[in-house]
């Protein structure tokens, strides 16, 4: 019954858009990352597969420690090494496996063809350089632009992401901006050379709720305008609902469920996903006790045998403690295929249909 994981994602990538014959922009295959710490080897990413097409948004959802950020750092090639090491798999970007490229070639891809937006813009921007310098640096280094030209471009970028009085503010330092404005600068920096893929690592977590919505909207608009692929890493189910096309849920370094975004909300096929959805407070359940997933995220040095979620799972059986569930293709109760859906649960049928 269970099919191999890569087939599911390959299938998941098909459909939706008209250019379904084209290869996806980014394809991550069986990626494995580990951290060699003094306390032992932490397996942060254990065979992750996903793909992103141009213009598509993939949300990767998970708790801290699920490997969502680490896998994207591996894609960007900015993993702290040591202690982090990519120990297996492929990262195919525009037809070439990034892991086989030289460091210099990977560097030239960073910033020009793929860019990253970080969570905390205050610490992610250099405090001692003006935002203009930091934005202009992209053009100066990758395009060899002159100083004055780079500054002009920086002002244009700031205007593009909606920063008022950009001409004056280009000479200010990061700490002189508000949180939302700083995150806009991060976005402008990622956007500078119009990359094909943007990875946003919790881009709105550090912001106020009202500002969060503005920043997400800006990101979505720009993505549509430039037809970029977007990987949105988040722990917040609320953030992804409006922007993402599809979702991959990660747990203990594996993808446990993939689904088109609205399908996932309607009918989760993995007990973990269901637990996450049930723990969102809802107005119609006012007065009832809020559901919480019991237990703690797993220790990556000692991932539980079998399904990593089994100690916290309300549906766990003996098989869950012994056998690692593959990513099953999820179907309707009558066996009709469900486009792009997969669940790494021995009891996915019971979860989605039962």
């Amino acid at each position: 019954m269970g099919i191999h994981a890569t087939e599911v994602t390959a299938e998941a990538g098909r459909g939706r858009t008209a250019d379904s014959e084209d290869a996806p922009l980014l394809q991550v295959k069986n990626l494995q990352v580990e951290f060699r710490t003094r306390d032992g080897v932490a397996k942060a990413v254990n065979g992750v597969n996903y793909s992103v097409r141009a213009g598509e948004t993939l949300a990767i959802l998970g708790e801290s420690g699920s490997g969502k950020s680490v896998s994207s750092q591996a894609v960007m090639g900015i993993l702290d090494s040591p202690p982090g090491f990519v120990t297996g798999g492929e990262i195919v970007f525009k037809g070439q496996d990034l892991l086989k490229l030289s460091n210099e070639k990977r560097r030239k891809i960073r910033g020009t063809q793929m860019a990253m937006i970080f969570q905390d813009a205050l610490s992610s921007l250099n405090p001692v350089h003006t935002v203009g310098t930091q934005l202009g640096e992209m053009f100066r280094v990758h395009r060899g632009t002159s100083k004055s030209e780079a500054k002009k471009k920086a002002v244009e970028l700031m205007e593009r992401v909606g920063i008022p009085a950009a001409k004056e503010r280009v000479n200010q330092y990061p700490h002189q901006f508000s949180g939302g404005m700083r995150q806009r600068i991060m976005i402008a920096m990622a956007l500078a050379l119009e990359p094909d893929l943007i990875i946003a690592d919790e881009p709105t977590t550090a912001l106020d709720v009202t500002v969060q919505a503005q920043v997400m909207e800006l990101l979505a608009d720009l993505q549509a305008e430039y037809n970029m692929g977007l990987i949105l890493i988040t722990h917040d189910l609320g953030v992804v609902a409006d922007v993402a096309d599809k979702i991959a849920v990660m747990y203990a370094g594996r993808i446990v469920e993939t689904a088109p975004v609205h399908e996932l909300y309607k009918r989760p096929a993995h007990p973990y996903t269901r637990g996450l959805l049930d723990s969102i407070p809802r107005l119609d359940q006012k007065g009832q006790e809020l559901y919480a997933i019991k237990g703690l995220p797993p220790n990556l040095l000692r991932i539980p045998s079998g399904c990593a979620f089994n100690p916290r799972c309300p549906m766990a059986q003996e098989i869950c403690r012994t056998e690692v569930p593959p990513l099953h293709a999820v179907t309707e109760a009558d066996g009709a295929p469900l486009e792009g859906r997969g669940s790494a649960c021995h009891f996915w049928k019971e979860t989605i249909h039962g």
Binding site: A42, A44, D120, S123, H175
Partner: protein, 342 residues
């Protein structure tokens, strides 16, 4: 929400950190500068994900306090073991010099003046014909006494004044900070040359008192910074909201959480105070005979260094090993208490 991250410390407002940095920028000492990072460790909210994801999770099952964690770290550190054994040995020598030497450092025979090492007298004799080995053994007491008590004095006075200044702020802070600045404005060797030359009989305790008077501002600055950082933590606000009084807040909540940087700077300072005592003795304003001290012996030997190097090298070697042991200990303690550098 699933993303709880219990290991993340609370962020500190940015202006607090910059204020700390600027305070330390004026502190030209090894300990203070290296500790600067420690105080800012609360700002480590967004460390590379490995620290929270991989390492942080490993600790989640058995939560340990900073002190337990530091102790576990220390026991595994060979530098700590070596320096610890050395220091215990040196303290035994300082307390019971008779265990290591049967002769007296004051029993001298002029006919043996400046003779090199012979059997029974492995370090040779000094100008007065005293046994250099005996003087080296007995000299440990002066150096270690000065080091230990000067450190205790500066740490107590500095923590008290700096801590109160940091806790209450306002005019008290302004006054303490300016007084600290005044004493900080006197270079310590220069101060020694002027202050100590006034005092004709300089016992160990006079030298200790001098070091405390000129040394406390360094510790006060560290303590002030640490207390300001601790005061702004959420658990302190919580304790205050629950009605804890100032005394209780200080003793139960703030002091234990500000101690780490103070301990580190004090340990490293101990080594430098021993060095300072020797230097003062060399300048002729430190200890005076008949006190037996390495500093006195080294400066006495300096004039005849070319003819009888053993007179200088043995006490100097003992002095260096002692200072090295304390500085290594401070280094190891700092590494253990500062998770950021791990």
């Amino acid at each position: 929400m699933p993303d709880q991250q219990p290991n993340k410390p609370n962020g500190v407002p940015d202006d607090a950190n910059t204020e700390l940095s600027s305070a330390f920028a004026q502190t030209p000492t090894l300990g203070a500068m290296e500790v600067e990072g420690m105080l800012e460790k609360e700002d480590l909210t967004h460390a590379p994900e490995v620290s929270t994801e991989a390492v942080g999770l490993a600790d989640r099952e058995v939560p340990r306090s900073l002190w337990q964690d530091a102790w576990r770290e220390l026991r595994r550190n060979p530098i700590f073991i070596i320096s610890g054994i050395l220091i215990i040995f040196l303290i035994i020598v300082a307390i019971f010099p008779g265990l290591f030497d049967s002769t007296s450092p004051l029993q001298c025979d002029l006919s043996k003046s400046q003779q090199g090492p012979t059997s029974g007298h492995p370090f040779g004799f000094d100008t007065q014909g005293c046994d250099v080995y005996a003087r080296t053994i007995y000299g440990a007491r002066a150096s270690i006494t000065v080091g230990v008590f000067a450190t205790l004095g500066t740490a107590l006075l500095g923590t008290l004044l700096g801590g109160l200044a940091g806790f209450f702020g306002g005019w008290l802070d302004a006054v303490v900070s300016r007084i600290a600045d005044i004493f900080f404005g006197i270079p310590i060797l220069l101060g020694g040359l002027v202050f100590l030359s006034v005092i004709p009989s300089r016992s160990i305790w006079i030298v200790v008192a001098f070091i405390v008077v000129l040394g406390w501002p360094q510790l006060a600055r560290i303590a002030r910074g640490a207390v300001i950082t601790a005061r702004q933590q959420d658990y302190v606000t919580a304790a205050r909201a629950l009605g804890a009084g100032n005394a209780r807040l200080m003793l139960r909540h703030i002091l234990p959480n500000s101690l780490a940087p103070i301990i580190v700077v004090a340990t490293i300072a101990l080594g430098t105070y021993i060095s300072l005592e020797a230097t003062l003795s060399y300048l002729g304003v430190g200890l005076k005979p008949p006190t037996v001290s390495w500093g006195i012996d080294i400066s006495a030997a300096a004039d005849t260094f070319r003819n009888a190097p053993h007179m200088l090298l043995f006490p100097a070697g003992a002095l260096c090993i002692t200072i090295l042991a304390f500085i290594m200990l401070g280094d190891a303690v700092r590494d253990a208490l500062d998770p950021k550098l791990r």
